[in-house]
């Protein structure tokens, strides 16, 4: 039973991280507002959201799928989890020290929102943040299956990776979309400045915390 509740908690973590990414202006909700205002119609807002979500989903999937393959190497499970945790912590520390913005993002034209969203998520390690959670889910599933981990199929881990990416992205699009819609219809652009906090440090610390939790949990 404990494993089931762990799994539930981890799924909530997947959703929570999605909400967290969604409300961060750096992941693109202001672009949806801007698109609607520039095109003079709410249709452009949803189209932009869709493009942003697609790019984000792609970035999540691209990071998670390699891990879904590696997770089948059962005898290396512990090493894999530690390695992933260290990687996430490492990125957090790097972002904490190097506070510069990735300049290549500025070369992406405004018409390529999906590409922009994909690159923004990659550059900020949004996908990596999910890796420890995903590995935890795989582990919980294996425990539930009564330690018949050897029978684990690559397919179910890949499916789980897809589901994690999808659930995360849905939460991200829903929360970012809610803010974009709110700003477009009611709050106005003055809200942009009011709601934009410098999350650079918090973001980097989030990566470190997620990594650290995973590191301790793997003992």
């Amino acid at each position: 039973m404990e494993d089931a509740s762990t799994a539930t908690a981890l799924w909530w973590a997947v959703v929570a991280s999605g909400v967290y990414h969604g409300i961060n202006p750096g992941m693109g909700w202001p672009l949806a507002v801007s698109a609607a205002l520039m095109e003079r119609g709410a249709g452009a807002l949803y189209k932009a959201l869709l493009a942003l979500a697609a790019g984000h989903l792609l970035a999540m999937a691209m990071v998670l799928f390699p891990f879904s393959v590696m997770v089948t190497l059962v005898e290396w499970q512990r090493e894999l989890r530690i390695g992933a945790a260290v990687l996430v912590i490492g990125l957090g520390v790097y972002l904490l020290i190097n506070r510069r913005h990735p300049r290549f993002l500025a070369r992406v034209p405004p018409s390529r929102l999906m590409l922009w969203s994909f690159l923004a998520a990659m550059a900020h390690g949004a996908g990596l943040m999910l890796v420890p959670i995903y590995l935890g889910l795989c582990d919980a599933a294996a425990q539930e299956a009564g330690h018949v981990a050897a029978a684990r199929l690559m397919g179910s881990d890949a499916l789980r990776a897809g589901l994690v990416a999808l659930a995360h992205t849905l939460a991200m699009a829903a929360s970012g979309g809610a803010i974009a819609v709110g700003v477009y219809y009611w709050l106005g652009l003055a809200f942009l400045k009011k709601s934009w906090f410098n999350l650079d440090v918090v973001w980097a610390l989030s990566l470190i915390v997620v990594g650290a939790v995973a590191l301790f949990a793997s003992h």
């Binding site: 202006p25 202001p30 507002v33 070369r107 992406v108 034209p109 106005g188 652009l189 906090f197 410098n198």
Partner: protein, 466 residues
């Protein structure tokens, strides 16, 4: 780095208009003969202050011969861009290039009354990293601070075309040239853009030998100054279209796009038409298919004058050209201010219909022939030149010097620096403020003005006004 966006960044031009009014202005002072170092004057423009209209602080540079001209901020409202947002930069530094020396000063104005030099970029570094010289217009954009230059390499700046280079917006390190494909562009002056629509527009003055030692009459009469404007795919760094305004339209200078990025048009001022001495304003716009077009929408005729009243350069023409040397657009995209430096007039056009500007107000001050005095009785040397509008559009400030050597040709003899202010009527109209007159230190002339917290020729907005 701030934890919240700088309070002077605004998502839309409309929000910027609603922000608190400016209390300080920054004005560049230049020593016309290079005998003393140039400087930055901090001017009190708060009408409730005891030192209203006075210089309350000066930053004097450690070198001579820089010739200050245009300048800009390290960060503006473009930092709120949804694509390349950098919302937590501070609007804190003024980037001041020496147009003659190619030296660039970074001035920290966080505490304006204690403004001080933060960094100096020596000319050699500009030459080595860009192959350009004579830096001019500053704008903050997607990849950092963009700086236009008027000269290429070599001692006289004609080794290769001039262009734009990019500087890091935090370290002020020069990153390198902007252009990947410059197309037909071989001269440079001003530039500006529409960030969400991803295009840039640039203009042409002339190459350094055509202006540094004064205007070259033969070059002007044979139409050798710039007369084209260039349109760029901003992020691809590629010139996508060049529009030749016609070779008689000499010196296409200031580029003023509509501030509201939903609008796809803007203006450009042309100094003089060599066939009839007219000054003109051109409206350019982007068409449905993404290409651009430009049309002359305002002409300002020359005024007849006796040869005896004219400087050597103009005697043969028996007329004084208006010389449209600066234009500026209010944040609501409603009024375009046009400096007629030759005739001594500041025009205000209602450009609500950008294709049909209407003269809404006019102030006469200075001028080659008229020499109109300020309402306070003082002589205004030269003519109205660099003009800057308050964010709310209610106040217009201007100075009087064009460029050291050109000042001397059109207005022989030293005429001193001046900075004045005019008030804008609720529905247009322009009236000089009798009580606003800035006294500058002896031996200096005044050029571009920047207003605390941004003004109408610095900030690029990323969201439409709604």
């Amino acid at each position: 780095m701030n934890l919240r966006p700088d309070p002077t960044f605004h998502a839309t031009p409309k929000l910027a208009m609603e922000a608190p009014a400016e209390t300080l202005a920054f004005t560049l002072m230049l020593s016309p003969d290079g005998s003393r170092p140039d400087g930055l004057a901090v001017v009190d423009v708060d009408p409730t202050s005891k030192t209203y209209g006075q210089i309350v602080h000066q930053v004097i540079m450690p070198n001579t011969g820089d010739e200050f001209h245009h300048f800009g901020w390290n960060a503006c409202s473009s930092s709120l861009s949804p694509l390349s947002g950098h919302a937590f930069l501070e609007r804190r530094y003024l980037i001041i290039p020496g147009i003659r020396s190619s030296r660039i000063y970074i001035i920290d104005v966080k505490e304006p009354l204690k403004a001080k030099i933060h960094k100096i970029i020596e000319p050699e570094e500009v030459f080595a990293k860009t192959g350009y010289s004579r830096p001019h217009t500053i704008h903050c954009g997607p990849e950092g601070i963009y700086v236009s230059t008027l000269g290429g390499g070599g001692p006289d700046g004609t080794d290769g075309p001039p262009g734009i280079f990019i500087m890091d917006c935090e370290t002020f390190e020069i990153l390198g040239r902007y252009e990947m494909d410059r197309g037909a562009q071989d001269k440079q002056y001003d530039f500006w853009w529409n960030l969400p629509r991803n295009y840039m527009v640039s203009s042409e003055w002339g190459l350094p030998p055509q202006y540094e030692n004064g205007i070259v009459p033969e070059d002007l009469l044979s139409n050798k100054y710039g007369h084209s404007i260039h349109f760029w795919d901003l992020r691809a760094r590629k010139n996508v279209q060049t529009i030749d305004l016609g070779e008689n339209h000499q010196m296409a200078l200031e580029i003023r796009p509509a501030h509201d990025p939903a609008k796809e048009y803007g203006f450009c001022g042309v100094v003089v038409d060599t066939t009839n001495l007219e000054g003109s304003i051109w409206t350019w716009w982007r068409k449905e298919d993404g290409t651009f077009e430009a049309k002359k929408t305002v002409t300002i005729p020359p005024q007849p004058a006796a040869a005896d009243d004219l400087p050597e350069l103009l005697k043969g023409f028996e007329a004084v050209p208006p010389l449209v040397t600066d234009i500026d657009l209010s944040l609501d995209d409603r009024f375009l201010y046009v400096a007629c430096w030759g005739t001594g007039e500041m025009h205000q056009y209602d450009v609500s219909d950008p294709m049909a500007p209407k003269l809404a107000g006019k102030v006469e001050l200075g001028g080659i022939v008229k020499g109109t005095k300020h309402p306070n009785g003082k002589a205004f040397g030269y003519g109205p030149q660099m003009v800057e509008i308050s964010r709310d559009g209610k106040r217009v400030y201007w100075t009087n010097s064009l460029y050291s050597t050109w000042d001397d040709q059109f207005y022989p003899g030293e005429r001193g620096a001046a900075m004045v202010k005019a008030d804008v009527g609720a529905d247009g109209g322009l009236t000089l403020d009798k009580d606003f007159w800035v006294e500058f230190p002896e031996g200096y002339r005044a050029h571009q003005i920047r207003l605390e917290g941004g003004d109408c020729s610095t900030d690029s907005f990323c969201y439409p006004s709604v």
